[in-house]
């Protein structure tokens, strides 16, 4: 078994030689691919700071063995904005002050993007709160986070509708 994997990271296909089978996606991104935007808060799947999208789904990258994700398409916080144009979730996080120290923020934002793609919460604030509960914010920015997710979702739905029309 070769310890080499193919990943698409933020739109770029890369072949990555892994120097150790133990490497998680989180440590791969942070320590080897110079993508430290994804944060390590607990390293045990208990805080959500390391949330990334893998094949469009949000997961905790700290509990993902990189070798096992051969072939995956990964989106991290660094790849979310379109150049200088912020993703609607990013813009809404600033507007609603949905962050304080900012350490959990990349995970919150990626989780919110995943949530909106899942399409399960709709405009129900309670469902958003539940669906965002895998991302701990010790500063307590939850009210702004919920507002930001709802607003971004409205904007994304409207944008998609415009594009479909």
């Amino acid at each position: 078994m070769s310890n080499s994997i193919s990943l698409t990271v933020n739109g770029v296909a890369r072949k990555i030689a892994l120097d150790d089978p133990r490497i998680t996606l989180l440590d791969l991104l942070r320590e080897r691919l110079d993508l430290p935007g994804t944060k390590k808060g607990c390293d045990r799947g208990q805080c959500g700071a390391c949330t990334i999208l893998v094949d469009g789904k949000r997961i905790n990258s700290c509990l993902a063995l990189a070798l096992s994700y051969d072939g995956a398409d990964i989106l991290t916080i660094e790849g979310l904005a379109d150049g200088d144009n912020l993703h609607p979730v990013q813009a809404a996080f600033i507007a609603h002050d949905a962050l304080q120290c900012g350490f959990c923020t990349p995970g919150q934002i990626m989780s919110a993007v995943g949530l909106i793609m899942e399409g399960q919460a709709g405009d129900d604030a309670e469902r958003v709160r539940e669906a965002m509960s895998g991302n701990i914010c010790r500063c307590g920015a939850y009210a702004g986070i919920t507002e930001a997710v709802l607003e971004a979702q409205t904007e994304i739905v409207a944008r998609d509708r415009r594009q479909a029309a």
Partner: protein, 351 residues
């Protein structure tokens, strides 16, 4: 985390063969295994990655109306499968009450059956634990036992099984399909072991054996109109159960024809409460009947430490889960799945 040999299996026989060596473990979603490895609780010498095995990520509806859930189906995908959630609402609700959205996207249903206890003495490698280190003793006794078992425990181990998913599965007669030297399909209820003198033996799986699917029989969908999962937690979400219960009823002409009850967080396995179910057969779905069922469900319960409150709590959750089931499965899984704050009547909180 110790280093290990990584083997990516491409066929089931290859996987079984690779995992039949001492020290080998299967890797599915990794949400529990990597956590255990990082804590030094589990130190496999070989990881057999089954996530690339073909065909195990499907939900198949069988001709008889039952369903075969591939072991690699992710928890979230199963919960959000519309047909599955309609037929087996308590299972979907339990899935959504577990962990977080991120973990549910990664965790597999097969792996969920092998999820290990959250007993802090099991996790703390400096503590004596018969489960981690057979014969070492159990430091949970006399320690922090608030959340430990009240049913089926032994002197050697008082840990509980943390799964939500397995609770309604046990209630609904789920079957576990196992590949290995002797392929077999066994009831989930017989899959997990009580600790006895061998708490390290948590399931009937033998070395190398692989869960390939979980089956729910078509009979289980006959409870769909009256099936709930309820979970008591110490925060509103993203917490393990203090106790939980699945209740499913068949009610005809105002009479319960069949009841299913299982409890979570009370024992080393999902606890099917058959005695309680019997008390309900033929009864009217009312408070008195449910109270009797609650009493029966916990008749054998014993505190394993400072956790006597869990017995009363479990009694009450059986009663409530039955009440909720009798009231009818909601159209959609509540915003706070399985929560006492699910606000069945749709109470709106503030945005």
């Amino acid at each position: 985390m110790n280093s290990f040999e990584y083997v990516r299996a491409t066929t089931i026989p290859e996987a079984v063969n690779a995992a039949s060596a001492q020290g080998a473990m299967y890797l599915g979603g990794g949400t529990n295994l990597l956590d255990l490895m990082k804590g030094g609780i589990t130190r496999p010498t070989r990881i057999v990655d089954i996530t690339h095995l073909p065909g195990l990520d499907r939900i198949e509806w069988l001709p008889d109306g039952g369903v075969r859930i591939g072991a690699l189906v992710r928890n979230a995908d199963l919960a959000h499968d519309a047909k599955f959630a309609r037929q087996f609402p308590a299972v979907a609700e339990a899935l959504l009450a577990g962990a977080s959205a991120q973990l549910r996207n990664a965790a597999t249903v097969g792996g969920n059956l092998l999820q290990r206890t959250r007993c802090p003495y099991f996790y703390d490698v400096a503590s004596a634990c018969n489960k981690r280190d057979p014969g070492a003793g159990c430091d949970a006794h006399g320690g922090d036992t608030r959340l430990h078992a009240v049913l089926g425990w032994s002197q050697s181990c008082i840990a509980t099984n943390p799964s939500d998913f397995c609770v309604p599965l046990a209630a609904l007669d789920a079957m576990v399909e196992i590949e290995g030297s002797a392929p077999r399909t066994i009831p989930l209820e017989e899959f997990h072991c009580l600790p006895g003198d061998t708490p390290d033996r948590e399931s009937v799986l033998k070395l190398g054996e692989l869960i390939v699917a979980i089956h729910l029989p078509s009979a289980a969908s006959r409870f769909a109109a009256h099936a709930r999962y309820l979970k008591i937690r110490e925060r509103t979400s993203y917490a393990f159960a203090v106790v939980s219960a699945a209740a499913a009823l068949r009610i005809e002409s105002g009479t319960i024809t069949e009841a299913r009850i299982a409890l979570g967080g009370v024992a080393a396995k999902p606890w099917r409460a058959r005695a309680a179910e019997k008390t309900l057969a033929g009864a009217r779905p009312d408070g008195a009947a449910f109270r009797a069922a609650g009493e029966a469900a916990l008749a054998d319960a014993q505190p394993s430490g400072e956790n006597g409150f869990k017995i009363e709590l479990a009694r009450r959750i059986v009663i409530r889960a039955l009440k909720l089931a009798a009231a009818g499965t909601p159209e959609r899984i509540p915003a706070l799945p399985a929560s006492p704050f699910a606000a069945a009547a749709g109470v709106l909180l503030h945005a």
